[in-house]
């Protein structure tokens, strides 16, 4: 059975009363360079139901669009087929053209002659042409069966939900709050601030991180339009753009944030010590704690997993000691439901844990630490009071080595580049050199990525003025001298082309950025997709970098991919702008791909009910009824209905069958 045999006369096709206009795009030479457009034009004219065929170099351009408009105006056609690039590219463009001339925009079909034909069969022109004929024939068959549909308009609640209270979430919350929208900012840890609060200085300006962050933390807590929910999580999201019904669960702190003065009197009497999350387990905190002194809200929190005062009643020393009487062991979980028009996901990241890279000895050799651990040491309010010390003997190290790309650019861990590690390693190197100018600091790198504003200059300065030694070669192995806990770093100096061994006192691993632990949860709540590395996927990598494919849900910051603080803030402004644009209009139109159920055919078998992921079908008086607002048009119920009672708008059985017959019927 030759594919070439597409002689239309052998195909059993029903008479088509519609007048289909077919507009073939050359797309410059993208299509016309491979597919003989003239031949295709001639073939198309002979198809039953086609009343007009045009071809033009760029159908999406103004003159191209005018060809369609003219044909509609002159009453020559009542259905449109554009044979061009992928409908995912320009279907909205051409739908607009139809609307402009008063024709229902859903009477259009697009035949994909570019992405699915000319671009992938460039060297088989005959076959590409035969395929193009088939694709056009299929589109004509479908177009004849298309029906006019009306998109639904729904109102948009002027409230935004922001998940994640780091710099990305805070920035978006302030922008939206300032614009007059109501915001719920939900953060799972007891304070906002995220990872930026753990940093000492930020590259390349060497601003003090807390100095630029804490004012924003205070603003967001005080902002009249922002409802801050810390120590809380989003546990359920139902609904759709403009009308998300969100359940927020706030965990009990057992401390009344309004009464707590953060005096800290409770700390000395608490008998329980656990590793401090904020200090990356370099030091201890008590079961009653404040993550850091500038935490917002400024209140202590009791960690109910460690506290022994809850059930049964045992300790309670803190309660006795608390002056303002802020401690309340009877507090319980609180759940509230809110309606949000838009959602912004700003969940940030977790640093890579290099324990499984046995060659570096993290977790085994005490003097191998990660970058975030070094950051806490450098911080004056950190566990070492700003002193750089090596863990084995708490002495100041004279020789330090930074190992780049730990967990990044590595097939065995993450193949992507984490973007900020070169810069933060050099930043930390400079800070060490400032404190100890005589120290020997090595940076072992694969490439130096210093792409941003002021970054290259920063790098130059680190090498020239600060005297940091850069060696191009990824470290193969770190070994320890057991008696002294001194380390030996082995790498290849690829510029000199020979192996190198450096003795050092302290090794810092520049670890990768990975998606936050709760990314899985957020994904299943919102049904947004993630790329292979686990970061949330944007709707379009170039043109829609902060939208997701779920209308009304936006992403920003490292949740979307590794980036530094300036880029994070820029993206969160982008997400806020996207959200504001939806909420500002107060309404949004939704594609009319929802189902309709014929109650004369539905026999109440209930096969469909459980299949709908959006609970859009319910039973009323024995037969099934669809909730058009909830239905997203997936069609799973349509294909399983054994009575054939459900119709999928714009993807009806008739329409799909006509495409199937047209595709294979030419045999």
């Amino acid at each position: 059975m030759e594919l070439a045999q597409t002689a239309f006369s052998t195909c059993r096709v029903m008479a088509m009363p519609e007048r289909v206009g077919v507009f073939i795009c050359h797309c410059g030479l993208n299509i016309a360079g491979v597919i003989d457009v003239k031949e295709l034009h001639t073939y198309t004219q002979m198809l039953s139901g086609v009343s007009l065929v045009e071809d033009y170099s760029y159908m999406c351009s103004e003159p191209g669009q005018e060809l369609i408009r003219k044909a509609i105006r002159e009453g020559k056609i009542n259905r449109v087929v554009v044979a061009a690039c992928s409908p995912r590219m320009h279907e909205p463009t051409f739908r607009n053209v139809l609307s402009q001339e008063g024709m229902n925009p859903y009477l259009l079909d697009v035949a994909n002659l570019r992405e699915h034909d000319s671009w992938v069969h460039m060297f088989e022109k005959d076959k590409a042409l035969e395929k193009a004929k088939d694709l056009v024939r299929m589109a004509v068959a479908r177009a004849a069966k298309l029906e006019a549909l009306t998109p639904r308009e729904v109102s948009v609640e002027r409230t935004a939900l922001i998940i994640g209270g780091g710099i990305a979430g805070i920035s978006a919350a302030l922008d939206l709050g300032d614009a007059g929208y109501k915001v719920y900012l939900v953060e799972s840890s007891p304070t906002v601030g995220g990872h930026m609060a753990q940093l000492d200085k930020t590259f390349p300006t060497m601003d003090c991180s807390a100095c630029i962050l804490t004012p924003k933390m205070v603003s967001v807590a005080r902002h009249p339009n922002v409802n801050l929910r810390t120590y809380a999580e989003v546990v359920d999201v139902q609904g759709y753009v403009g009308n998300f019904r969100v359940k927020i669960r706030s965990k009990p702190r057992y401390v009344d944030a309004k009464k707590c003065t953060a005096c800290g009197d409770c700390v000395p009497v608490c008998p329980i010590e656990v590793p401090s999350e904020f200090d990356v387990e370099l030091t201890w905190r008590k079961a009653i704690y404040i993550p850091f002194p500038q935490a917002v809200p400024t209140t202590y929190t009791i960690d109910d997993k460690s506290c022994i005062g809850l059930k049964p009643l045992t300790c309670r020393q803190c309660e006795d000691k608390c002056g303002p009487k802020a401690i309340n062991f009877n507090e319980s979980e609180r759940e509230e439901e809110i309606i949000a028009g838009t959602i912004i996901v700003a969940t940030g990241y977790r640093p890579y844990n290099p324990s499984k890279e046995e060659q570096y000895g993290y977790g085994v050799y005490p003097n191998v630490i990660t970058a975030i651990e070094m950051e806490r040491m450098l911080n004056a309010s950190g566990p070492t009071g700003g002193k750089v010390l090596r863990p084995s003997d708490m002495q100041e190290p004279g020789r330090i080595a930074f190992l780049h790309c730990i967990g990044s650019r590595d097939e065995r861990a993450n193949s992507y580049c984490s973007r900020i590690c070169c810069m933060y390693s050099m930043k930390q190197a400079r800070q060490i050199k400032e404190k100890h100018p005589e120290a020997e600091v090595h940076e072992f790198f694969i490439d130096i990525r210093a792409y941003g504003k002021g970054f290259e200059e920063f790098y130059e300065k680190a090498a020239r003025e600060y005297g940091v030694t850069f060696i191009r070669g990824k470290v193969a192995e770190v070994m320890e001298e057991p008696a002294t806990h001194d380390l030996l770093v082995r790498a290849e100096d690829t510029m000199l082309g020979r192996p190198v061994e450096i003795e050092t006192d302290l090794v810092i691993l520049s670890t990768a950025l990975q998606p936050h632990e709760q990314t899985d949860q957020v994904q299943s709540l919102l049904r947004i997709s993630r790329g292979p590395e686990g970061f949330f996927s944007e709707a379009h990598p170039k043109l829609r970098p902060v939208d997701t494919l779920v209308d009304g849900v936006f992403i920003c910051g490292v949740a979307q991919g590794p980036k530094d603080i300036p880029d994070t803030v820029a993206q969160s402004k982008g997400a806020a702008s996207g959200a504001a644009s939806l909420m500002g209009q107060g309404k949004v139109t939704i594609e009319p791909y929802f189902i309709s159920i014929d109650e004369d055919v539905c026999s109440g078998c209930k096969v469909c009910i459980d299949l709908c992921p959006y609970q859009a079908i319910h039973i009323e008086q024995k037969t099934a009824k669809a909730n058009e607002a909830q239905c997203k048009g997936c069609g799973v119920c349509v294909s399983s209905c054994p009575a054939g009672a459900i119709k999928a708008n714009h993807f009806t059985d008739d329409q799909l069958m006509s495409q199937i017959v047209a595709a294979v019927g030419g045999a």
Partner: protein, 140 residues
């Protein structure tokens, strides 16, 4: 089996993953054989077994169903339903005398242009070995 037999593959691709993956193959200019004719659906769960059967009864040598990877369905669980339907349908096709490998289910994400092209190449090769679908010739 004739040397010049080119299998005709009918493809049902979901909008969010399969179809986008095929688009990606296009934008990356990955070349693959011209055997497939693609029909776009919003979710692979929209695909009714009767559509697959119609394709085969009208002479398609192979039917390809492409959806999102399990767990990534844009509509949450549609592809799980597709998976079960296809398995049951393959059993029925076997009982009806077809080589069940004429029906093929693949998960291809929007970024997997290379995988999509490889699926077409591989499917076309395998169908060449099985031979043309004789169902149409013998229709009463």
């Amino acid at each position: 089996m004739k040397e010049d037999f080119e299998p005709r593959i009918l493809g049902f691709l979901c909008n969010w993953c399969g179809y986008a993956g095929a688009d990606m193959a296009g934008t990356s200019r990955i070349q693959y054989p011209a055997n497939v004719r693609i029909i776009r659906v919003m979710c692979s769960g929209r695909i009714d077994p009767s559509m697959i059967l119609t394709g085969l009864s009208m002479g398609a040598d192979g039917v390809l169903v492409v959806g999102c990877h399990l767990g990534d369905c844009h509509y949450v669980k549609g592809n799980y339903r597709t998976e079960r339907r296809v398995h049951l349908l393959k059993k029925m096709l076997g009982d009806m005398g077809f080589d069940p490998s004429r029906l093929r289910l693949e998960w291809v994400s929007a970024s997997e242009g290379e995988k999509f092209s490889q699926v077409i190449r591989d499917f076309a090769e395998k169908l060449k070995k099985i031979g043309p679908n004789s169902a149409v010739k013998e229709m009463p």
